[in-house]
């Protein structure tokens, strides 16, 4: 008989893990109450760096939530049966990350108490409303998808939902990119390549998270996942990373060669300014190193190689979001004088709230795995 992973046979390690996550979530909650009572003045943002860590976190979660569904749907659309053992984890990860993406916009709002206005007075021409619509419908479809593949398994229903989920996933990434790409006043953002880059980042980071979660689950949650399948997902990441870098290089080249003044100043600010080390560090550690690890057939099959490479890609994706948002705002609006060009460094409130969201993601995954009995095919 298969031994299922239930709360009864949970180890001390498990409870240490859960309680430390709960503590981080509680700290994040406390930081949020501080911010709610004292206003966004407790953050490092100002009228120059209008958006920062919270929005980076928001786009990061949107990206993470986008890719898992493709793996699950590939089984039903392209009949790729080999991914079957990963289907439920991928769904769970997508659903949790999308749920957190939808909520992680709240701490960035000056008046989170007025969030109902979005539904009462929503203006259709605002990309924020497009994003809200796609993210909520994607979240609902993810939840239904998860429901019909775990709690009430129905092959028929899943076959109908899978293509809808894929379309919504792509829409979700594009719309998130358009929030930035359609803003003409920020030369660093205003580019048709933002949405494709969001999609490629979503693929690399989302699939890497799936690899990371699968490897860690088989190590700590006693899930029996064939490493060969995980390595196959790693192969996809190794294919998408160069595409992502290609898109990024395109952005750079069109700005640099055509010598568009504002875009050149934005790019030289990112590559050689105070964010230069972070930028090059992200390119090397978040793209190049993981690419070589995941592309090599020798390292791709090792647990260590998979863990390190996928972790680097996920962290690198967060850095990439940050590197797009903050320098894009810090870079001078050409006619403004220097006193507007402040610096940005996140405060403890921002860091704690973001840490709280990350811990909440891990906590929800741990709970979801237990409640939905994701690993029922476990080793005997």
């Amino acid at each position: 008989m298969a031994k299922t992973c239930t709360l009864k046979n949970a180890t001390t390690m498990f409870w240490v893990w859960v309680s430390s996550l709960l503590i981080i979530v509680a700290m994040g909650g406390y930081a949020w109450t501080v911010q709610f009572t004292r206003g966004l003045a407790v953050t490092g943002m100002g009228n120059t760096v209008i958006w920062a860590l919270y929005i980076a976190n928001y786009t990061f979660f949107i990206g993470l939530g986008g890719a898992g569904i493709l793996i699950s749907s590939a089984i039903y659309i392209f009949d790729v049966k080999r991914f079957e053992p990963l289907a439920k984890i991928a769904l769970l990860v997508s659903m949790i990350c999308t749920l957190l993406a939808a909520t992680s916009i709240l701490p960035d709002l000056g008046r989170p108490d007025r969030i109902a206005h979005v539904f009462l007075y929503g203006m259709l021409q605002s990309p924020f409303i497009w994003d809200l619509t796609t993210i909520l419908s994607y979240l609902i479809v993810c939840t239904v998808y998860l429901w019909f593949s775990t709690i009430r398994p129905s092959h028929k229903a899943v076959k109908v939902i899978a293509p809808i989920a894929v379309v919504l996933s792509v829409a979700d990434q594009s719309v998130a990119g358009w929030i930035f790409g359609l803003v003409k006043s920020r030369p660093f953002w205003h580019s048709p390549l933002v949405a494709p880059i969001f999609a490629s980042l979503a693929l690399t980071s989302g699939l890497s998270l799936l690899i990371l979660v699968s490897v860690l689950s088989s190590r700590f949650l006693r899930a029996n996942i064939d490493q060969q399948i995980v390595s196959d997902v790693a192969k996809i990441v190794a294919i998408v990373i160069p595409i992502d870098l290609f898109l990024l290089f395109n952005e750079f080249l069109t700005a640099a060669y055509a010598n568009v003044p504002e875009r050149v100043s934005a790019w030289s600010f990112v590559t050689t300014g105070s964010y230069g080390p972070l930028f090059w560090g992200t390119i090397v550690c978040g793209s190049l190193i993981p690419f070589f690890v995941l592309a090599s057939p020798r390292t791709r099959v090792t647990t260590v190689g998979l863990t390190i490479a996928s972790f680097l890609v996920v962290v690198g994706a967060f850095a990439r979001r940050f590197l797009m948002i903050v320098p894009g705002l810090l870079n001078e609006l050409p006619y403004l004088d220097e006193r507007y060009i402040g610096a940005y460094s996140p405060t403890w409130v921002e860091l704690t709230i973001v840490a709280g969201f990350l811990a909440l993601a891990a906590l929800l995954y741990t709970a979801g795995v237990k409640i939905l009995r994701i690993f029922q095919w476990e080793r005997t």
Binding site: G39, T43, N47, H117, P127, L336
Partner: protein
């Protein structure tokens, strides 16, 4: 229909920043202490310096910068809740009771003319007694114009809409249209300008002061290439 606009003559401007201060007191903009970060200061009509060239061949142009009240405002387009809107006289307004504080409008504004209430607005003790009690009534019941803002919302220049409304009401009572001389220095910034560098008026009336000045060969608008079509027109330094 009236279409309000402003002309700022950079030849006459002495960059004294009297407009900035007059605007701050007229529109109840929060006080910033010396310890407050520069990036959270309020100045609906700031005086910015445009630096061209490099030392020693450098030239600095001081430019008073109110909200441009664009004909094609990028801020209005992106607002998810319609808290910022253009009224029928072409003024871009902000409803403090509708705003959710997402700051998308600030991101979209190419002129950095929008300001966010990072904390509860504050004034040193005696100043709280002298806040401007005027209200704008254009779109009730939301708070707008010079009314004191709550924390967490975006605010901006209103072309002193409360003054326009007051004068329009008087003119209506006397059954006549507003005269150009009446509104020429209507806004607080124009009223305070010691060198008479700023003019206000109806851009749709071909005989108004602003219309005549706007057709000058010296006239230009900030960042015209973005297609925002600002209603604040500058006269270049000669």
């Amino acid at each position: 229909m009236v279409r309000w606009g402003m002309v700022i003559d950079l030849d006459k401007c002495v960059a004294c920043q009297a407009c900035t201060i007059a605007c701050k007191s007229e529109n109840n903009q929060p006080f910033s202490a010396k310890s407050d970060p520069e990036s959270r200061r309020f100045a609906w009509t700031d005086v910015i310096s445009m630096i061209e060239g490099r030392y020693p061949n450098v030239r600095v142009t001081m430019i008073p910068r109110p909200c441009m009240h664009c004909e094609n405002p990028p801020c209005v387009k992106v607002c998810p809740v319609g808290a910022t809107y253009m009224n029928e006289e072409g003024i871009v307004m902000q409803d403090y009771d509708r705003c959710i504080g997402c700051r998308y409008c600030m991101v979209a504004c190419p002129y950095a003319a929008r300001y966010f209430n990072w904390e509860e607005p504050k004034w040193p003790e005696p100043m709280t007694q002298y806040l401007n009690p005027d209200k704008a009534s254009l779109r009730p019941p939301g708070r707008q114009g010079p009314e004191v803002r709550p924390v967490g919302v975006v605010e901006k220049c209103t072309f002193c809409i409360h003054r326009i409304e007051k004068l329009t009401a008087i003119a209506k009572e006397q059954n006549r249209l507003l005269k150009d001389e009446e509104v020429k220095f209507l806004t607080a910034c124009n009223e305070a300008c010691p060198s008479r560098a700023r003019f206000f008026g109806d851009l749709d009336n071909p005989n108004s002061t602003v219309s005549k000045l706007a057709s000058s060969p010296r006239a230009f608008r900030l960042k015209e290439d973005l297609g925002t079509r600002p209603k604040v027109i500058y006269l270049a330094q000669g």
